[in-house]
Structure formats: C-alpha cells, structure tokens
Amino acid sequence: MSRIEEIKQYFFVLWELTKRELKRKYARSFFGILWSSIYPLFRMILVVLLFSTIFDKGIDRYPAYYFVGFLMYEFFSTATQTSLTTLKDNRDLLIKSKLPRELLVLSRVLIAFVNFLLGCLPFALVLVWYEAEFSAYYAYVPIILLLFLLFTTGVSYMLSIWYVFRRDAKNFWSNFVMIMRFFIALFYHISWVSDGVQWFIRHNPIYGFIYACRNYLVYGNSVSSFYWMTIGVWTAIVFLMGFLVFRKYENDVVVRL
C-alpha cells in the first residue's frame, strides 16, 4: 500500500472514532453538541455578573482577558482527563482490532479540540464587543494553538498509559488539574499574588500558552522571547516524552487491561 493511502486510512479511522465518541457522549442529550457553545456562553454570563465585580480591579477588557484563559484551560482539562481512561474504555477495540493504539488517545484530544473551537464562537463575539486590538499578531495564534495541541497530546499519551498501571491516576490527575486552575492566573492578574507564587505561575507552560494568546488576541501586544522559549521547550520535551512512553508501553498495556 502506498504511503498516501496509509495516511488517508489513518485519518479515516481517526475521524470515525471521533464521530463514534461524539455520538455516544450526546446520545441521550437534547441539545447535543450545542452544549460546547452553550457552556462557554453561560460562563461568560457568570463572568460579567459576578467575577468582574470581584476580580476586575484594573484589568483591561476583563471578560475577554478571562475568556482566553478559560477556553484554553477547559480544553487542556477535558482532553487530558478523557484521554486518561481511553485505553480502558476501549478495551474491546484494543484487544480485537489492529488499529494503531495512539488513535484512541488522539480521538479524545480531537473531540476536546472541536469543543474548544465551538467555544470560540461566542468568544469571537466577546472580542468584538470589548474592542480587542485586531493586528497582524493574529497570525501567531494558530502556531500557539498548534503547539498547545501537541503539548496536550504529549500529556495525554503519558496519562493514558499511567492509568492502566495505576488506577489512582484518575483521582490524582483530576485534583492536579483542579489545583492548576488557580495557578495559571486565569481570573486574576499575576501581579496580585505573592512573589513566590508569581515565579511558579510564570514557569507554568499552560500560563505561557494563555499569556501569549491573550496578548496577541486581546491586546495586540508582542510576547517576549522568554515565553516563546518556555512554550517551545515544554512542548518539545512533553510531546517527545509522551510519544516515547506510549511507544514503549503500548504493548504491555493490553496484557494488563
């Protein structure tokens, strides 16, 4: 079979898997996939009603500020938490079929990404409403998102393997993600916390991604090379590690399921 054929088939399977997951997820739901847009919309109402009065002190265009972080964090959190259990959830498929195993992880990440994109629809309105600075910097955003996608995939690879070996991984990770929510300067400004916490937040890759997108999308500012470095190095390391870990253990996994 030619190389192109192979790649075509690969993506065909990925798409079918993703469709199946989506159908399953919203099987009994009335609104179905619309929830991906409704949920962010409600969050926005919350932000405008409650948050802005407590946390808004001096942050320019606060709802837009918040929303970039919220959407990206939500993507990371959903993608990693659903990927974590994917090998176990698809046990039958793993044992009985010969499809590349990483597809199961990729399909979960992809669903989260589709969710993320749907959440961006209401976000576009926010950007217009709060008069974000449209600039040439917008061209950088797809690059950041691509890196973010790779980073998330790397983490997801590792988590999916980890869960097979340790069932506690699920609890550990959900708590970790919950804690992380407070250390990415999501709804407050980084300068409001003490210096130690600030240092920690600055070196957090997820904050880096959010920070870069925020500056490009909302404020039309450039982003210092420090953040580009942080993002680049983290993505390279995490993706490579995830890939290698998955390669190494994907065969042991079937025995343990």
Partner: protein
C-alpha cells in the same frame, strides 16, 4: 413491630451491598481515592489561601483558612451529595428493571456514602480549629442543627435531580453549569459584601450560602445569626425535602419506562 425492624434490616443490607458495588466499580473507592475525597476541601483551602490570601482577606485575624474551609467543606458536601444523586437512578438501570428494591434506597445509599465522607472530613476541620486555638463553645451545638437541615435540603434536591435526569438527559449539563454559578454565589473565599448590593441581596437568599454563613458565624465568632437566616434555612430545608419526596414518589414508578 417485628416486620418494621425486619424492613430496616433489609434496607440496610441493600444499602450496604450497593455501596460495596460502587466501591468495586468506581476507583474512587481505592484507599487513595477516598482519601482524596475527604481531603478535597482541605486541598481547595490551601490553594485558595495561597492564591487569594493577599488579595481578598481584609480582616485583622488570621482565620482565613478556617473561613475558607467552612465554606469548602459544606459546599463539597452539597455538590458531592447532589451529583451522586443525579446518577442514582440512571446509573442503576439494570437493577431498576430487574429488582423490586424500593426506589428510595438508591438515593439514600448515595447520600449515606457522601455523608460519611463529610463526617470524615470534619476531622481535618477539627484539626485546623485546634491549630488556630479556637476553643469549643456551647453555641457550636447549633451547627448540628444547621447541618441536619442542610442535609434535608440535599436529599430533597438530590431526589428531584435523580428523577429529572431520567426524563431529561441534559439535566447533567445544566447542573454542571449551575454548580459553577453556585460556587461563586456562595462566597466561599471572600466576604459577600464584596459584591455590589444587588448581587449581595441575591446571594443572601441562596440556601447554600445561608447554611455556610450560619456555620461560619457560629464557629469563627461564636455568634448566632439573626433569626431571619434560621427561618430561611428551615423554610428551604422543609420545602425542598417535601417537594423532593413528593416528586420522587410520584414519578419514580414511571422511571423504568423512560430509561
């Protein structure tokens, strides 16, 4: 009388069996998993303290951790209890069809497990109180009243949710959004007076905030809040409990047809 006791015994047995099954099925019942659930309010407190200590605490005393922990403990109890009820019927499809267990058992069993975790998390709470040199006061007895009525509220809401989720699957999604609103509408880590007056008024009638506020004032300041707050608590608890029971009894027989 004898059959009554027999009944209770049988119910307890069923609850026990269901709980054991949940434990086997959910990995949250691994030792570490359960520990996580118990420590959850404490973890939240530490994080919020680190992040918001600078930002939101304006009182002179260093009671901020207790202030947060009171809120997070009660709030976790509420969300864990109600969201467990949410799936209590939907998640037991097979048993509902095949067995003749009383429907109430499914809800009671979920609440019982969450209540147990709540009690265990109180150890953490007691530890923090001792650490901050709070000596027990006679008025703390009233906290038990507060929690009793709060629990009645949780059972009522849980029953409504359990039934609603059978007939309308999107309940889960709605509820997820609702809890986020509730989190910020319960003023867990800052004083409600930080909100503008109109929002503060809305928060005042939030039953979860009410229960947290009562407990907080009792424990932090040994102060009994004005009667109006107590009346509100009783009102919500009684109404929600009975409405929940009514809805549950009315519709739980139709559940099987809709699963």
């Amino acid at each position: 009388m004898n059959t009554f006791i027999q009944n209770i015994k049988q119910n307890m047995f069923a609850i026990h069996q269901l709980t054991e099954r949940d434990k086997r099925r959910e990995n949250s019942a691994t030792f570490l998993g359960e520990l996580w659930e118990i420590l959850n309010p404490l973890i939240l407190t530490v994080v919020m303290f680190l992040v918001f200590g600078n930002m939101l605490w304006t009182e002179a005393s260093d009671d901020y951790p207790i202030f947060i922990l009171t809120g997070t403990t009660l709030f976790s109890y509420f969300t864990q209890g109600t969201s467990a009820c949410l799936v209590s019927l939907v998640g037991n499809k097979n048993l509902l069809i095949k067995s003749k267990l009383r429907r109430n058992i499914y809800v009671t069993q979920k609440i019982a497990l969450v209540f147990r975790n709540f009690l265990l998390s109180l150890f953490v709470y007691a530890f923090l109180l001792a650490w901050n040199h709070h000596t027990p006061n006679i008025s703390w007895v009233l906290v038990i009243v507060d929690i009793t009525f709060f629990s009645a509220m949780i059972i009522g809401i849980g029953k409504i949710l359990a039934v609603a989720n059978v007939f309308f699957a999107d309940t889960t999604y709605f509820y997820r959004i609702f809890t986020v609103f509730l989190l910020y509408g319960s003023a867990l880590f800052f004083d409600a007076s930080r909100y503008p007056a109109i929002i503060k008024d809305i928060i005042m009638i939030n039953p979860v905030y009410d229960a947290i506020y009562i407990a907080r004032e009792l424990i932090l300041h040994n102060q009994i809040v004005p009667t109006i707050y107590w009346c509100m608590l009783f009102f919500y608890a009684i109404v929600l409990y009975f409405v929940g029971a009514l809805i549950f009894n009315k519709y739980s027989d139709d559940v099987v047809a809709n699963l």
